[in-house]
Subunit: 415 residues, 2 copies
């Protein structure tokens, strides 16, 4: 089974939006044992989209289109598919009703152009829209198939997982289960991590064909991911094999593993706090709300998070957090900020950050010099020093995760 | 003159490296008045690369390949071009000497595979390597041309500017300048925006050939971009034409335009505050630090931003911000939070947010119901009600930009 990906949109051709959709879809296809040999980007031109689609179907069993399903005149994916399939577009009353309902909920005026999003090639199956207004489409073309998906990543991803992959796997007759699990790590370099894991990698490569495979994915602010992939006859044996590999890898990597799959650092910290019946407060200087923003992204965070004092100006550090006179980018200031956060926010655990995001030095300290303060019940509040590399945004983001990771490791020791 | 871009490399297909080269080249082509209608990614397979190249030359005058020029066995771009051109590969003694010199300078051992990088299709012109070891190639195929460039962005870009664009422009005889400007908008739906701008679009489409073109780019949290593109004899007339179109579009869209090109909402708010000598404080509930995090991302924000009280827990709203008893997700609470932020953070301007991010209702209000409070000097503090759609993260992010946009519009009225 082979699928080709076609990204539609002049803005992609011009690099004004970077096309991350195609790579994401290709990864999901690979995990499902479906080959992808070509990816094409084409502009908003109905004939070029149609020709590109014909070429895709000449070398693949299926084509997955993203983009061009919007309401405007230059959204032409629907028309192009109808051309290639040799069918008409029909306005689908159910889709129409869905779109009308969405506009009603948003109490927004619905224009004629929005109605175009209800046009469906005859014979196509609709993938109901759950996040946006544009539905996806499954369009048979002879014994081949064309999928049309919105270009908005969240909408596209949800439809790929819910509708496209199951449909493709059913068509491919693939029965083996290919499953992966990702171990999320933080605080280890790629080469250091590779050395820790080397024994297991060697054992597997020396092992029987079809043995699990291990891959490293450096994923920026998501840390370095260690992905284990297994191919087994059924789901139960896949889970068992993944459990075995996870145990072996955790043995080798230890505390460096903070979670699995989609688990985030902030979720893990929240679970550790909840297990211990503790609530967290923050005092953020140069991270400027990034830590709080991540935490509030966790549903149910209100059970373990009260708030953050974003003390960007020194006066706020002094008045609300009670930081004494003297340098505000220092271990002492980080400690005072953490203690002040506990008082101001009424918590027994606090995490604080102060540092130099750059581009210029502050208080004689180079960009990337940061301090994280940690207040825990029954412990003396302490600060750790971080020396980070990168531009302003990178330094703030790395400091955000590293501060949370430091708190995670302290909470583990707290028992 | 039309050129097609082909990115070679299985790692691009799998999204392990995101292909940013193609978009960058496409922008340079556009600036040189050369059309680019397709971009293709193909894996490391000589026959697939050759077929992809043939298709490219069937619909374009030139093909620009990136990647596959390295020393390893899966670097097959040279072989594929030779196949399509119907010529042999010859080892070029000058290139060979260059490569040997590079290895000598790096005092690195040179393997036989490194010598493959000196193989050149008969009849091709070499683009000397200045940064890496792989030379670029200009390969005539009949009256068409194929350019082969390294996949390493820095090496590729240097060769495009130095050799490819001059060669393409010479072949095309193109002298026109193509330039674009993006108007950034917020608060208008794509279709609503299209209707506002329709008169101008119609006028231009009815106009002479070569008239400016207008395109809409829905860009999620960056709002909807309106891109104007002009093609003129020289840079000066391009700027004049863009200025004319910007003025015409601002006339139609009005306050909905918050900036141009790379300007962000938070930068614009910062400029408005700085111009008026005002400093901003925040009180964030369900946006949980997202507004502060964006603001601190603006270099020099310390001149106009003091901090944020992220009051996630009601107790923090009451104790630090002085929100009276009663519902905390309400217009009254938003007003009290804004006034409290001015007091706690010592500012004369404050922006507050309180709302329901979901997934569950709060205080009987549906997810997406939000209130933004705005305190301005000499004005009564007021709150606006927002009804937003999306998942938890989307609601918080849309609320973040919409709150900043509301402040922007109020500051404009402040004069």
């Amino acid at each position: 089974m082979r699928a080709e990906i076609v990204a539609v949109g002049t803005e992609l051709l011009l690099g004004q939006n970077v096309d991350t959709n195609s790579g994401w879809i290709a990864q999901r296809l690979a995990e499902s044992g479906i080959d992808c040999t070509h990816q094409v980007r084409v502009g908003d031109n109905v004939d070029r989209i149609a020709d590109t689609l014909r070429i895709a179907l000449s070398r693949a069993d299926a084509a997955i289109l993203t983009g061009g399903l919007g309401p405007t005149q230059d959204d032409l994916t629907r028309e192009a598919i109808a051309k290639v399939a040799g069918v008409q577009l029909e306005r689908d009353p159910d889709v129409m009703a869905d779109i009308e309902a969405i506009f009603a909920r948003r109490s927004r005026h619905m224009t004629e152009s929005n109605r175009r999003q209800a046009d469906v090639p005859v014979g196509a199956t609709v993938i109901a829209q759950r996040l946006g207004t544009a539905p996806g489409l499954i369009c048979p073309v002879g014994d081949q198939v064309v999928y049309a998906l919105p270009g908005v990543p969240e909408e596209m991803k949800e439809m790929v997982v819910r509708a496209v992959l199951p449909d493709l796997r059913a068509r491919s007759g693939e029965t083996a289960v290919i499953a992966s699990r990702v171990l999320r790590t933080w605080g280890l370099g790629e080469s250091g991590l590779a050395e820790l894991v080397a024994p297991r990698v060697d054992a597997l490569e020396g092992g029987p064909p079809g043995a699990p495979t291990i891959a490293f994915l450096a994923s920026g602010m998501e840390g370095i991911k260690v992905r284990v992939t297994v191919k087994t006859p059924d789901a139960a044996s896949a889970t068992a094999a993944l459990d075995r590999e996870e145990a072996a890898l955790r043995e080798l990597i230890g505390e460096g593993v903070f979670g699995t799959d989609e688990e985030t650092m902030e979720q893990v910290v929240g679970e550790l706090l909840t297990d211990r019946g503790l609530r967290l407060g923050l005092a953020e200087s140069f991270t400027g709300g990034l830590i709080a923003a991540r935490i509030v992204g966790v549903p149910g965070a209100s059970r373990w998070f009260t708030g953050s004092v974003v003390a960007y100006d020194a006066s706020v550090k002094r008045h609300i957090l009670g930081v004494p006179d003297g340098p505000v980018v220092s271990a002492q200031a980080a400690v005072a900020m953490a203690d002040g956060a506990c008082r101001a926010l009424g918590t027994d655990v606090a995490l604080s950050t102060t540092g130099v995001a750059g581009p210029d030095p502050e208080e004689g300290l180079a960009p990337g010099t940061c301090f994280a303060g940690i207040a825990l019940p029954g412990r003396t509040t302490e600060a750790v020093t971080l020396r980070l590399l990168g531009n302003r945004l990178q330094i703030r983001e790395i400091a955000t995760i590293t501060a949370l990771d430091t708190l995670r490791r302290r909470l583990l020791k707290l028992g």
